[in-house]
Each structure stands twice: as structure tokens, then as C-alpha cells.
């Protein structure tokens, strides 16, 4: 589409945001194509925050993957806030828009 030429991602975060947008708009097509088109797990979490592999240990943040635990403990604050994210394909399709940052915006999500 023409708009892709008008807006070009420069840094890694911008690429991640774009990937997210592509994933959302092509969700159905991606499912039909066995999900290979998406660079992220389909049907579980749809944002680039981690959270689908659980951390069995009893330390904080409980329930997140190893990588996200490391991120959480990093000294530079919340560069990647790890959080279990809601299902963005069926029940919370506008999740990435109403909750772009889980740590901050989680109250806006209406869990069923």
C-alpha cells in the first residue's frame, strides 16, 4: 500500500510497532496460512512483550519467561515490561491500542 512508503520505521521499537500493526490487520489471513507469516505466536499473545512461557519459580515476576525476568530486573527501568497479555485475536482485538503498555494501561482492559 502507498502509505507504507510514506512512513518508514527507523529504530527497532518502530519495527516492532509496525510488525504488530501488520499482524493485527492480517490476523485472519495469517491463520489460514498456518501462522507462518507472523513473526510471533498466533492465538496466544499478540504483542512483542514476552509472556507465553511461564516461569515456575516463586520469584517475581511470577509466571513470566526467563528472558522477561531478566528484562524486568534490568537497571534501565521498564524497557520491556513483561506481562501475560490478553488474547488479541478474538476477545480483545483492540488490545494493542487500548493497552500499549501493560504496566501502565492494564486497567483499560476489560477481561471477560
Amino acid at each position: 500500500m502507498e502509505k507504507k512508503l510514506m512512513i518508514k520505521a527507523l529504530n527497532k521499537k518502530a519495527e516492532a510497532v509496525e510488525t504488530l500493526a501488520k499482524g493485527e490487520s492480517k490476523a485472519v489471513a495469517a491463520l489460514l496460512e498456518s501462522g507462518t507469516e507472523l513473526q510471533m505466536p498466533v492465538g496466544c499473545t499478540t504483542v512483542f512483550d514476552t509472556g507465553w512461557e511461564t516461569n515456575p519459580r516463586g520469584t517475581h515476576p511470577i509466571g513470566n519467561c526467563q528472558a522477561s525476568v531478566r528484562d524486568f530486573m534490568g537497571c534501565s527501568g521498564d524497557c520491556w515490561w513483561p506481562a501475560q497479555t490478553p488474547d488479541g485475536l478474538t476477545n480483545n482485538t483492540d488490545y494493542h491500542e487500548v493497552c500499549s503498555n501493560m504496566a501502565r494501561d492494564w486497567r483499560t482492559i476489560k477481561y471477560d
Partner: protein, 463 residues
């Protein structure tokens, strides 16, 4: 669905404009048509995509896809959620091994190295105890950092050795990796010390302020004699025999800010691997810059950015630490909800075994947050952090740089606001301009196709 604008900022670039999304620290290059659509729509309180013309809608949908337009009534994006210090295990300990110094630097914030009290050295048993505390309290963390600091740490090699050996032993037993770093004035370096650093892979920074006239004016001995000549003779052994990169750490007073490039060149010619330049903290009104001086520093840093850009076109990274650090963060799009790690797994320990929020606040009684015996006191940490960040949320709410800066250095703010009585926000102009230099340089490097070079930052910065 109605949308509203997410905070963003536009900077001009060679081949269009840079669109910076505040919430995610995302950077996009946009062309003039996008800029034109934004300028027409940005003052609308809400954007109804169904009411836009087809060509506008194309652009607006693109902006929605990159999260610059969000559903109307979405949550406020600031302030961020505050963390609880208790949830953070120890990750970095700064050990004040010597609260004493053989130099009397004009801009020293530690009052001649003693941090305002009696000059004293950390005893070796306390050093070992501190090392054990770091490892014991580090929870599941695999990577720990021990920083040896002062005063001049080399005045107390017994404590350095005790801390490093104990921390290595404990970390290794716990299956953790330990990084040890040290900042020295270089006057006491000798072959034995250099060999200890090499054997224990200690990352060393040397405080050196540039050419002799400048350095000696800033960093004299207690006698008043300059320290440059002595350091030069001693630092060679370190530069020639150390396997790790050795950085020069420069501090310049406002009247010296026009000399950044000269200082950088001088130190690189001496053989340092990297140079970082810090403006002196305003420990007194004399060191508080006026607007003209601030402008000079920004011009100097902008000149360094132009050099960075030229060198990058030859496929090399200019080893100017300030820009490397900033470009790394911009490349990854790292956002921050807190200004730094102080109190969140990062603590300083003084010679008496007392904990402080950070190394720069050591000795300030109001920032004492526990001790080796009783451990870190989360209540005190919360209270200190609350004190240094008071009022910042409202102040930062409308600022485009809030997710990159998050309020700035606690110590710097404390000095300006509490010691000098200046209203909050006095360093904002400098910080914003500096971040803009970085953002424009980043876009310029992308424009130049320096993608491989930028990819090197991914490893360095991590996330």
C-alpha cells in the same frame, strides 16, 4: 471509531521528517505528505477516520497502525507505574572502598573524597561482608556488578582485593557471573595493580580531563600541584597491558565546555579506547551554567555528533561514550519509567557499611537506606525515591522526552533543587537538546545506510 493523538514530536531530517512516538520511543521517517496531514489534523481533539478524505484516511490509518492515533478515551499514559524496591534483588553494588583522595578536584562532589565526613578507608572484613551481601541478596540474577569507587579507590588496595576475591568466590559458588569495574584518578597505578586488574578482568575508567593545562586546573593534588604528568607516566602501563578497553572519564566545568573536541582528540591520542565527557555537577553556584554556556556545550556535542556521522560513513564507530550510549538506547527504543536503577537493586555502600541510594548521594544522611548488618530498608528507599521524584510526574506529563529521561539524575536534581534552591526543571532544556542531537544523528546514520554499525548497538545495549 474515534481516535485521538498519542504524544509525538516531529524533527526535521535530510530526507523528510523524523516522527518520534513518545510512548514507545519509536522513530519513523515520514515524507512531506504525512507531515502535511498531521499538521492539518493534529489540533483536532478527536479524529474520525470515516470523515477524512480518502487520501487523508490512508495516511491517518498508517499513523493509527504505528500507534500514533489511539482509540479516543484510552488510558492516560503518564505517570508510569512505580516499582516496589522490595521486588528487586541486588544487582549492582558500589563500594566506597576509600573515602579519601590524594587529589583535590575543583568540582568534586565528594568533598575531597570523604563525602563530607572524616576521611576513612573501608576495612577488608567489611569489604568481604559487602561482597557476600551482594551475592546473597541477588536472588535469581545471573549477572552481578561490583563497582569499586571512592574517593580514590587505589588508596585501599587491601579492601579492593578482599572485595573482589570474596565476590568472585561467592558468585562462582552460586553460578553467577560477576563484573567488576573501577574508576580511578590513575595517580597510584603500578605494575602490580595493573596485573591484578588484568587477572580479575576489572573494567577500568581513568578520570583524566584532557590536555595538561585543563587537567591540572581541574585535578590538582592537595598541595596544589597538577596531577597530569604523574598520571601520564602511570596510565601507560594500564593502556599497554590491560586486555579490556580502558575508558577516559572527563569532567569539564562550564568555562571549559567549548573544548570537548580537543579533549576527546587528546585522550584518544594517548591510547584510551573510549572517552566520555560529563559536565561537572553544580555543587556550588559557580558551577551552575548560564544559558550561553549550556549552548556552548550543546554546540560541542553537536560537533561530536557530526564527527560521529562522518566516521560512521567509513564504517567505524567514534568512541565517544556519550553518543554511543544514547544511540544504543534510541536504536532499541528503550523507554524508562524510572530515571535510573538507584534503589532498585542498585545501592552504594560506604566505608562504615551504610547503604545509600546511589554512589553520588553517599554520605548524605537523608539518603541513607540501611546497612550491611540490617540490610536494605525498603521503606527508606521508597521514601528517598519519593523525595527525589516529588512533583516530577506532573512536570514531565507533557514532555516529549519523558520516556527517555524519566526525570533525570536524582543527585543532579537534589543539588539544583535542594542545595541551590533552583525550581525543578532547570536541566530540562539541556537534556531535551541533547536527546534531539541524538535523534537527528540516529536518523542521519540510517539515511547513510549505517545499518550494520547500528546493529552493533543491539549487543551492547541489550534490553
Amino acid at each position: 471509531m474515534k481516535h485521538e493523538w498519542a504524544d509525538h514530536r516531529i524533527f526535521q531530517a535530510k530526507d523528510g521528517a523524523i516522527l518520534y512516538g513518545v510512548d514507545h520511543a519509536s522513530l519513523f521517517l515520514v515524507d512531506s505528505s504525512v507531515q502535511e496531514v498531521i499538521s492539518r489534523w493534529v489540533s483536532e481533539p478527536t479524529v474520525d477516520l470515516s470523515k477524512a478524505s480518502e487520501s487523508d484516511r490512508d495516511v491517518l490509518e498508517g499513523l493509527r497502525d504505528i500507534l500514533l492515533l489511539k482509540p479516543a478515551g484510552s488510558a492516560k499514559t503518564w505517570p508510569p507505574v512505580r516499582f516496589d524496591p522490595e521486588e528487586f534483588p541486588m544487582s549492582t553494588m558500589v563500594l566506597e572502598v576509600a573515602q579519601d583522595c590524594n587529589l583535590r578536584c575543583t568540582y568534586c562532589y565528594a568533598e575531597g573524597g570523604s563525602y563530607g565526613g572524616q576521611a576513612r578507608l573501608l576495612d577488608s572484613e567489611t569489604a568481604r561482608e559487602a561482597a557476600r551481601y551482594l551475592v546473597r541478596e541477588s536472588g535469581d540474577l545471573k549477572d552481578l556488578t561490583l563497582v569499586l569507587f571512592g574517593g580514590e579507590p587505589l588508596l585501599n588496595m587491601p579492601a579492593i582485593k578482599a572485595a573482589v576475591l570474596e565476590a568472585e568466590k561467592m558468585a562462582s559458588a552460586a553460578g553467577k557471573r560477576l563484573l567488576v569495574s573501577l574508576t580511578t584518578n590513575g595517580t597510584l597505578l603500578n605494575a602490580e595493580i595493573v596485573s591484578f586488574f588484568r587477572d580479575h578482568r576489572v573494567v577500568v575508567s581513568v578520570s583524566l580531563d584532557g590536555p595538561p593545562d585543563l587537567h591540572d586546573a581541574n585535578r590538582p593534588y592537595a598541595s596544589g600541584k597538577g596531577s597530569y604528568a604523574k598520571i601520564l607516566s602511570r596510565v601507560r602501563g594500564l593502556l599497554e597491558n590491560h586486555t579490556a578497553a580502558v575508558a577516559a572519564r572527563v569532567t569539564l566545568t562550564p568555562d571549559q565546555w567549548s573544548r570537548c573536541e580537543e579533549v576527546f582528540d587528546h585522550l584518544m591520542a594517548l591510547g584510551f579506547h573510549e572517552v566520555g565527557i560529563a559536565p561537572a555537577s553544580p555543587i556550588s553556584k559557580d558551577l551552575l551554567p548560564d544559558l550561553e554556556q549550556e549552548k556552548v556545550l550543546l554546540q560541542s556535542f553537536a560537533a561530536m555528533a557530526r564527527r560521529f556521522s562522518r566516521v560512521a560513513r567509513e564504517g567505524r564507530i567514534l568512541p565517544f561514550a556519550n553518543l554511543i550510549e544514547l544511540l544504543g538506547r534510541l536504536h532499541m527504543g528503550q523507554t524508562k519509567a524510572v530515571a535510573c536503577g538507584a534503589g532498585y537493586g542498585y545501592l552504594a555502600v560506604d566505608a562504615a557499611g551504610e547503604f545509600y541510594l546511589c554512589h553520588r548521594l553517599a554520605g548524605e544522611k537523608g539518603f541513607e537506606v540501611g546497612n550491611l548488618e540490617t540490610g536494605a530498608d525498603p521503606e527508606k528507599i521508597r521514601s528517598c525515591l519519593g523525595h527525589v521524584t516529588a512533583g516530577k510526574d506532573q512536570m514531565c506529563e507533557k514532555c516529549w522526552a519523558r520516556t527517555l529521561c524519566s526525570g533525570g539524575c536524582h543527585y543532579e536534581n537534589h543539588l539544583r533543587e535542594n542545595a541551590l534552591g533552583i525550581p525543578p526543571g532547570s536541566s530540562c532544556n539541556f537534556i531535551l537538546s541533547w536527546l534531539q542531537i541524538g535523534i537527528e544523528l540516529y536518523a542521519d546514520l540510517r539515511h547513510a545506510g549505517a545499518d550494520k554499525l547500528l546493529a552493533q548497538f543491539e549487543k551492547r545495549t541489550g534490553c
